[in-house]
Symmetry: D2
Subunit: 258 residues, 4 copies
């Protein structure tokens, strides 16, 4: 879609621990030239989904923005979970995004609306964004029905994200004690818990199936890892139940490992 | 967007009274060649929005599909209002679309859902459509909330479209008697009423403003016409009130016309 | 290709006699808005191919550029034959293009090179143009072989375009006297001669075929017209021969018309 | 351009020694799905430019084609230098390309024409290709001038490619003996010689500059390597002169290394 719609290519950059740093970006910047299109924009995912909800430190964002802007590059924050980042940092979202040129964030996911994402940026960016929204089929008619849910997401939900983070830590710490599961609970900063199950000898689809039999829905990522996400529809009790279910599933295969 | 996303150009064909006929399409078909892309698809809007909700007769659809298919062309029905067409024809929607290759219809508009459109077609077309949906940003997460409204739209709303059509005819016939308004009520087949106000000396924006003061929301189309749409949130009483409001607005400017 | 590559749509504007005027352009300008992309550029073909090589007067270009620039629009000259325009006006090409933002012209066609077109414009436009050239597969390796022909086209050929124009007028005036052919020789300003053969009862492909038997290659345009082009490889004698061939072809069918 | 024009992304696959193998391709194939576009085509560069003109063995091509075709994938040969591959293998080009669906090859480069590349494939592929050619601005007028050079390239030049390969080996073997230069001459199969100059302490631009002072034009690739190409305009004497120039340039900096 990036190619098809925007005519752009991404140059993925390694972000150890989910933290993209300027030193890595710098080497990937390509100048405009007769043989290739130049780099135009740095996109920064915060929190980082596949790194388990990792939060980018504020000074890292500041450095990226300062250096990128000096070279005429824009910085976009892929902030689907930026409210979780702000909560984890104990600051307002506006502080997290103050230096970026544009930020997209989701009203769904952690904020709990059934649908909806927003783009924020300069007046010029939003003017352009409205045209692209139309190109992508946006321009709804009775949007108020959906916007109502979005208002609740913005006004009432950010304050409770700390609960999701506490629940995620609860899961992570409990998983550390389960044989067959590998996780470093100290890396769980927000509402995503990714853990390795290669020690159980099970594949993620099999693990998912067994959890589902116990009333827990959880998908795998890649060949050996599971990914759990806490949110407003999941209580502390649900999380404790999920931990128990994981314990049972792992225990069931323990002899096989012995 | 058609250009940007699909890389296609449309060749608009005149459809007198909103009825696109094969004889007009035939002359616009361009063969594939070294200097230009060939025609690939005929798109047929039914009912026709800007022709006041005109309904394409079944035999016209059949002829277009037969002739197009003979030449290897696909036929797509732009059926945002195809349930209104079926209601006006007194047939099932499946009869209206039986010969076309694909049909898009809206769960919003006449069927009353807050949001949502559907594409129907062959398994192959839907397989392709799912990929294009993703390219356009589709692939929702908690889509069930929206789908619930869509189910009501599909199951309960088609049966009541006749009311909207009766209300539209009520408005159209009443408008015929209002000085300054020009309309042929016999052309109003579904839920759209387009009428000319050039006899009032007012522009559509001014006419809209005066109607709004009387609690009626109606937009103009083009330089001299207004467009009213009946739907499930508009009762017979609302329509009578709208007619009264139009009468008042026209009467207020009558001396200016004298 | 315009759609596919640039994601743009053209809004064709009628140009009676091949002369595009500001009054016609003005009505086609569409402002940027949430529902549609705004007009960005005016493209002006000079000389006008399908209007028989018509030359746009300098004051018409000036008015278009002045008005377009006031509205923030760019003006591009599709100047494949702009050297013919300059020759017909008796001015330097630089005067014809002085107000436009960009101009494309051909080293082939009237200037006689086997291949090659050039884009001229501001440094910024050319910087962008180099990137688009690469996107379109440009960026040749041993381009000097082709550039050598281009230098001859630029340095030696413009001075002789008057001969082509005189030859075209010669053909046009001679055609006026041939029964079955319709042409107004006074409209032939440059090197293109378009004439109507509906009076002969022949189709353009048939007319082409008969001319080819007499050593003259000429294609039709549309259903009833032929198009002759004079250039550096066609002498006055060739043109006289072509006229004679046309006369013969028309005479052969004369009884059929009687 | 791939993104912009074709809306595709490439998934680069490592090809050790310039030989792309099915085992590496297999892991990169992505099935069509609701969240991503599937893999459609395998592109195989032969000879491999940046691997120093490496030739893909015939059985490797056969395996890739067989396996790809079994999965419904097309195979395209990026055969800019496929005539060099055929020469090195001692077979006809038709044998090298017999299993691929499409092949592009250059009339320039080794075959010596000033400009021109050709696409060969099934009738259906060429039919599509003609449309894409037009989209890319192809469709030349006086193409015969260029085609004449292309005919010589096709008819007379393949037979002499062995000379270029012998010259490249001559250079490669001579370079092995020059201190500061690193190269494995046994890997030079065709007309490209890539060698490492990090032992000289010079950067490629500096090395290029010093060679140019001695009448030899050669560019660097990457941070530490130079790339020499033999072709029909370069004789054995030229190559011996180039080796001598490299020896001098390296000798000049030898004390710095000591």
């Amino acid at each position: 879609m990036m190619a098809w719609f925007a005519g752009c290519l991404a140059r993925p950059v390694r972000a150890p621990g989910g933290i993209l740093r300027w030193s890595a970006i710098r080497d990937a910047i390509r100048p405009d030239g007769p043989h290739c299109a130049g780099t135009g924009c740095v996109s920064l995912e915060n929190t980082h989904n596949m790194a388990g909800g990792a939060v980018t430190p504020l000074d890292v964002i500041e450095e990226i923005c300062r250096e990128a802007h000096q070279r005429g590059l824009r910085v976009h924050m892929d902030g689907a979970r930026v409210f979780n980042a702000a909560c984890a940092l104990g600051v307002e979202v506006r502080q997290v995004v103050k230096d970026v040129d544009t930020v997209m964030f989701c009203l769904s996911k952690g904020l709990g609306a059934p649908v909806g994402s927003m783009l924020a940026g300069t007046a010029e960016a939003i003017h352009q964004g409205r045209l692209y929204r139309k190109r992508l089929g946006g321009g709804m008619r009775q949007a108020g029905v959906l916007a109502a849910a979005g208002l609740i997401a913005l006004e009432q939900m950010p304050a409770r994200l700390g609960e999701d983070h506490a629940n995620a830590r609860l899961i992570a710490h409990a998983l550390e004690a389960i044989p067959g599961v590998a996780i470093d609970a100290s890396t769980v900063q927000t509402n995503i818990v990714i853990f390795d199950i290669s020690g159980t000898g099970m594949t993620p689809p099999e693990f998912s199936r067994r959890l589902k039999e116990r009333g827990v829905r959880m998908n795998g990522v890649g060949a050996t890892r599971m990914r759990a996400v806490t949110h407003c529809d999941v209580t502390r009790q649900h999380c404790e139940h999920a931990v128990e279910a994981i314990r049972e599933v792992c225990a069931a295969v323990a002899p096989a490992r012995a």
